[in-house]
Symmetry: D2
Subunit: 319 residues, 4 copies
């Protein structure tokens, strides 16, 4: 389907349910897609960091994307992450995603290597030229260990290389500078890069991002409670910022589930993904909370704590 | 004077005007204090990072603080930075600040050393016990290379060690989590740490911080245009978030003056402080734009660029 | 072929010559293998960072490894890098490498993700169990952004998970601590992990690593002048440390070719790999100095500078 | 006393014994100086990081330096650390050190601030001009969060700004490049900066640094066992590298005392300094093992472990 320009709203990074041996649980994944679309989301981001893309083999990535596309069935656009170290490897994923029918691509800067900003620009330009799909830059320094500067993003927005930015840098000041440089919150879409989409990946400050002029959000926690992010988005869209902030506060409280797994015993990524999956399991959306190897699983105690936090947020577990 | 609890509003980190040989220009500093108070600010933060405190000798720190206190003359409360590597050295500054009449102290975590979170907690507790003034924690990882966790701040807020937090971490998600844990944006001051003050040092996202429940802001750019930050604060306070965001956007545009000094030739700190001081000079508030050694001065060309950005923001230079 | 335990000597990380369109130049690669073996090296490390493995597609990785194995033809053992983000993806590469006939595997800690040390241990243990080949840990924080602690490596050495360590951390103090904990420079191979191999990737301090008790070296610059590293190794092996240090000094001088590409215009990785390939081209070993996209190529001027440094080191270009 | 050029040998960073209330124990400090000089050291570095300089007030710094100078009584040269955030503050310390009779100054790059390399160069040049004492650059990125590049050090060595470098960067490859650029291990003192002193602060790889051409070492552990570092130095000086490596190995084993304090409960700095002081106490050199606030003290159990490691290294506790 044609991608709106700008793309707006809530576009969750879809989790990848796994079976006990680490295989993709496609039935659960299809149910998760329904859960999200039923919650009112405006698009889906498959194969993002929250999908555990870094743990999925190429075959599994294909299965996951295919499942999401089939389950979405054109009801909302599907963006596909093409996460790999450098351009030639990303291209392989991009071609697969295009062949499977993704509506847009989402690529990070190169990682593992050390890459100059001019090389990063060339990376995005080459991807855009080689595969005929809208391209989003995924700014995620915690994973790739470099930051896309506002001036670089602006350059690639204005020359048409990028259709949008998914900003998971946590650097809200830089994001604000970018938005202002592109025309500002009310005038950006009549500015030098009119259809350019700005999505924040900072799920705890979505009200702020919308107030600043972002078009939408890619919230990991949106897997668990998509409807709440849609209410938050709608409140912001209608200018009811007090309501938006109240919804955001509730979601910040819910987000504390990521602390259920003890920091001394597992990585932060493991505890956050484990909590989201435990919650989806407890809510009856997916069949099990397995995370990909070598992430440590949540203990039963930690999963029970996730359940208590769901209940506290008005989302009582069904099992 | 007694410090309001919570302290709220705009509390700029006061720049320190210097003469051509690096000496403190007390006449200019007094005029700057008037400029800020005339702009409507609610307090002053002397000897913060923006004051170039790291470049001031102990004698100069005394002169600067004394000048600010005398010029403020009780019209607004004055917080004093007590920036040094560890507790014993910070204590020396704290005692001086108390003797000079500061209304509160602002201390960072230890730096130069590597310090465990339990040691950081002991640091703040000892400072609070040893000097009888309200104590603010100054979270500034870019300078001290460690981050105060929300749980640590919460512990020190609830036990009365800290009167407040000045958050210059840029980590808006963590700040949001802290605010929610302390009761949330509307209920925080009836929560477990009722008078605890939350100030953001992120001058580009003040509307967002206020919407999230922060009590105020400590904006370096507030030296140049204090009235605009006051308008922004008032708009937020009254719930007019569209107006707050519009004011913020204008200030983001003005902030671009920090790019006037070329990155290849000077540190970011030098170019930002140089731009603020050049602006204050051009606006007739202070007599010269000298920054402390060994920071490189702005070129004439860069200073002229600062002037153009002032004009573009409706603040025409008077010289 | 069976891998010696410990593996010792000079095991260069083989560069991957590329044609003008980025395709692998297998004829040049085979000549490079001969150049290295003629230089007296004791093994080859294919698909290491210096091979530009992060830029090679899976198909290209297969071609490169196959070419190296075929050209080596059993004359020296061939270690194969299996570089990818996490265990499931690394396993795919490991199975391919085993099928192609590699003599050992070299794997990093997970990257892109944030991974707990217990998860990193599980990662290596699973790889060792799943593929029946000796496994080397590749400690390269500059690429994966975490450091393998000496205690973790020791644990995995003593329980037989790891056959060896390739240490590119640059942390010589930690390496020394590991060696001492495993029995020390003279007694290590009768200690708790008798055949455990310690290889340094720090090509500028090989004499020091050998003196400390390392078994060998994996020098990127060894592509250009393998015989010199063999002389250095032999000098150390025979206890002639003055001679070893003199050889090392000459190689430090030669290494300065990596500065030929200007830092302001290209990444450090690009300038180093570009210099090594330019040197191999000028020496007549490979047909062209192309580096993988999106790395910027060396300018003609920079390549000429590489040639001058070759001449200065007694390796006159042949073209 | 006139400083040799180059300065060579073992120059320990003198610990600062403290009484139970954190006051400087000058009697213990004088005994420590005797312990070091009796051990054969070639100089003393007062007010280095190991002295807990970052925890000492200005008054205490004066007391510590005065005590060291008086106790040394001209038997060996005394270098004085002048550790503070920027040039103006460092200058205050430098003038005090000069007045007290220090033989040389040791200054880091600015910290807390972000400082451009050209500003760092100006910092050292101004210090050298303003105070007439030989000046050493102290490269310690773990504390100041920037690294002095070999090219910057070389520039300041060749123009006479710096008398030497104390390299605590742990980057042995860069140190090697610097030494080679200055003429190499055997020819450096007839090169472009003939008397320039290179000291390593990497106490676990001293044999390697000497082999590479360093003039000496500044070992924290040298407080505990100065004679062993002198033996190590002498072995290297006489070209007996096997003996040097054997001494180094023994010292690496002894160094493991820094792990006696559990990482989960205290900072690394606290556990290392606590171990050195506990060792000096157990050896009867100083009266107590107190470390400066807010560092956590070693537990009795940890101190007992330090004692066991002393015994294992042939240094039986006397209490």
């Amino acid at each position: 389907m044609a991608l709106p320009a700008p793309l707006h709203g809530v576009i969750p990074p879809v989790c990848t349910p796994l079976g006990p041996r680490g295989e993709i649980d496609t039935a659960s994944l299809a149910r998760l897609v329904d859960h999200l679309i039923d919650g009112g989301v405006h698009g889906l981001f498959a194969l993002g960091s929250t999908s555990e893309v870094a743990y999925l083999t190429d075959a599994q990535r294909g299965t996951a994307l295919e499942t999401v596309l089939k389950a979405a069935d054109g009801r909302v656009p599907v963006l596909a992450g093409v996460i790999d170290t450098t351009t030639p490897r990303v291209l392989d994923h991009a071609r697969t995603a295009a062949a499977l029918g993704a509506d847009a691509l989402v690529a990070t800067a190169p990682f593992y290597t050390r890459t100059h900003p001019r090389e990063i620009a060339a990376h995005f330009r080459h991807l855009r030229t080689a595969v005929d799909l809208p391209l989003f830059a995924y700014d995620i320094p915690v994973a790739v260990h470099s930051k896309l500067s506002p001036s670089l993003v602006r350059e690639l927005a204005e020359d048409g290389t990028l259709a949008g930015l998914k900003d998971s840098s946590g650097d809200e000041g830089s994001l604000r500078r970018l938005i202002v440089e592109l025309g500002g919150r009310t005038a950006r879409h009549t500015g030098p890069a009119p259809g350019f989409t700005v999505l924040t990946g900072s799920e705890l400050t979505v009200d702020a991002a919308l107030l600043a002029g972002a078009d939408g959000v890619v919230p990991g926690l949106g897997n668990v409670d998509p409807a709440a992010y849609v209410r938050l988005y709608d409140a912001g869209r209608s200018g009811d910022w007090e309501q938006a902030a109240a919804e955001q506060e509730r979601l910040v409280g819910l987000f504390s589930m990521v602390d259920a797994g003890p920091e001394a015993e597992m990585g932060r990524s493991s505890s956050a993904l484990g909590a989201f999956k435990a919650a989806l399991h407890l809510l009856g959306v997916i069949d099990g909370g397995t995370t990909a190897f070598p992430q440590r699983p949540l203990s039963e105690e930690a999963a029970a704590e996730v359940g208590r936090r769901l209940s506290a947020a008005g989302l009582p577990p069904v099992r």
